[in-house]
């Protein structure tokens, strides 16, 4: 799915974010964020809840646009793409939703076949084989005729993964792939992410806040907080780099630079102690 007129095909960076600033509802989500996601690697984006990890993924896929700065995916400026260009770009990106987002109208097979049916006119036999191959890869070929409501959370996530890779994308974005999984299912998903990356060379971006899981697969970790990348590096060592951010986040401490309180006005003033505020 790589665009033949790729501007920088040899660039080692697949996603390049420069000076991205986004303000949503008066709250600054990204504050001049710079980020490079290397091609063919597994990059994990970590950070406390509400720091805009999912929002960042939406910027990469062009579902949202920043107020300033730029997002380049494979050399293309996302915000400048037309609808057709954006859809063309998205065909090359797999996206694993936090809640799987399977189409409840269709069974497992049709869910995985959905992108193929929408974008190709392949003969039915070919679609069938492609879908069964992807389902085999996630170990759910036998569940092809089940409806999404008959699946467990882990199975749904694997079906969603099969759907995300049906077009053999060059980039897969995993949004919280480990949430709500039992240890077995979690390790299955971990193994799948690793296999996909190693066998197909798919660039992977894993949004998560589970360090133990991330450490097993990620090539590099970026810690996002207050709209900036506050730390980045090897997952094995990042927790010990001495920065107060990493110490608090990976140590799970309640006090530290990560704010406990949501931004608010002056406490005394809001309580009505006007005199005390003076």
């Amino acid at each position: 799915m790589t665009d033949p007129v790729d501007a920088t095909p040899d660039d080692a960076t697949l996603v390049r974010i420069r000076g991205l600033t986004t303000v949503l509802g008066g709250k600054t989500i990204f504050d001049a964020l710079d980020m490079d996601i290397p091609r063919g690697k597994i990059t994990s984006i970590m950070g406390p809840s509400g720091t805009g990890k999912t929002t960042l993924l939406k910027h990469i896929t062009g579902q949202m646009h920043g107020d300033a700065g730029s997002v380049h995916v494979d050399g293309r400026e996302v915000a400048a793409l037309s609808r057709q260009g954006l859809y063309k770009l998205r065909e090359g990106i797999g996206y694993l939703f936090q809640n799987s987002a399977l189409l409840t109208d269709f069974d497992v097979f049709e869910n995985v076949a959905f992108p193929l049916r929408q974008h190709t006119t392949l003969p039915e036999v070919l679609i069938r084989n492609l879908v069964l191959m992807k389902l085999q890869a996630v170990g759910l070929r036998g569940a092809a005729r089940l409806m999404p409501n008959e699946l467990s959370g882990g199975m749904m996530r694997r079906v969603a993964l099969a759907r995300a890779i049906v077009f053999d994308p060059q980039l897969i974005l995993y949004d919280e792939p480990f949430v709500g999984l039992d240890p077995v299912a979690l390790n299955q998903v971990l193994k799948l992410i690793l296999t996909l990356n190693q066998t197909l060379g798919i660039t992977s971006v894993v949004v998560s806040h589970e360090l133990a899981a991330v450490q097993q697969i990620a090539d590099q970790v970026m810690l996002l907080s207050n709209g900036k990348v506050v730390a980045q590096g090897d997952p094995k060592t990042i927790a010990d780099d001495g920065s107060p951010w990493t110490r608090q986040f990976f140590g799970g401490e309640a006090d530290g630079p990560i704010p406990f309180r949501y931004p608010a006005g002056d406490y005394a003033t809001e309580l009505g102690f006007a005199g005390a505020a003076k």
Binding site: T61, L86, Y95, A101, L103, P115, H119
Partner: protein
């Protein structure tokens, strides 16, 4: 300004904003029609859900409306010795008013709420985002097929409803109350005009109602906050807004067509 007055003004401006938003949404829907031609199969599937699946309620309600209408008319007209006109009155009232209006109200309750809830839940479970991510335009794939299906299904349902109402009227009037069969049909056929009653009454009105109900249903589904609470409110709003729109438009259409 008192708080209540400003609240009242807020409600008014909010409603206006909703109507404007809805109008813009209609334009988006219409603009997506060429793109949704490739999803013809989806349109057919929706036609099955909103049309064919509504047949039972439409047929049963049509039958009872016709029956009760005949029963009432028989008793009123028997005061004037005019029971033979009751078939005609049943036909006219069903074709001009009850057929399209009651069908549209039932349609809003049966299909409109289903569309709103379905789209709302699809958004709540990220299915709409997933479609966008799979480079499938949700407007062309989800919204427009449902809108078109409602547009096509309503006139057909309205015809079925009217036919069932006539049948119900015939059942009560002729079979039970003993109105002469020939008189029943002769009076009806003498007065009912294809253009003013069936085309303008049944077809045109229900086409407009179908467009309005499915537009409101799809619009509510797409604009509600994607939470279970938001979906519940949106479903209620679909019924309320559709019912008001149907009855208001019915007045306008009647004033124009008569």
């Amino acid at each position: 300004m008192s708080a209540r007055a400003s609240q009242g003004r807020n409600v008014a401006t909010n409603s206006l904003a909703q109507i404007g938003h809805c109008g813009l949404f209609l334009l988006t829907l219409l603009a997506a029609i060429p793109r949704s031609f490739r999803y013809l199969r989806e349109t057919i599937r929706q036609l099955w859900f909103v049309g064919a699946m509504s047949l039972t309620i439409i047929m049963v309600c049509g039958l009872f409306v016709g029956m009760v209408l005949m029963l009432q008319l028989y008793h009123v007209l028997s005061i004037f010795g005019g029971t033979s006109a009751s078939g005609m009155v049943v036909a006219l009232s069903v074709y001009r008013e009850l057929g399209p209006v009651v069908t549209a109200l039932l349609f809003a309750g049966r299909a409109g709420t289903a569309i709103t809830a379905e789209i709302g839940l699809m958004r709540a479970t990220d299915q709409i985002s997933a479609m966008e991510m799979m480079a499938v335009d949700p407007i062309a794939y989800v919204a427009t097929p449902r809108f078109l299906a409602g547009l096509i299904a309503m006139p057909l349902l309205s015809c079925v409803f009217s036919a069932m109402a006539i049948f119900g009227g015939h059942l009560v009037g002729v079979t039970w109350l003993g109105i002469d069969n020939g008189t029943f049909w002769a009076n009806m056929t003498a007065v009912v005009d294809v253009r003013t009653d069936i085309v303008n009454g049944v077809l045109l009105k229900s086409l407009v109602f179908g467009a309005v109900v499915s537009l409101i249903a799809v619009f509510q589904g797409f604009t509600t906050p994607p939470t279970s609470e938001g979906v519940a409110y949106a479903t209620t709003r679909t019924v309320v807004a559709s019912s008001i729109a149907i009855l208001a438009l019915d007045f306008v259409l009647t004033a124009f067509l008569m």
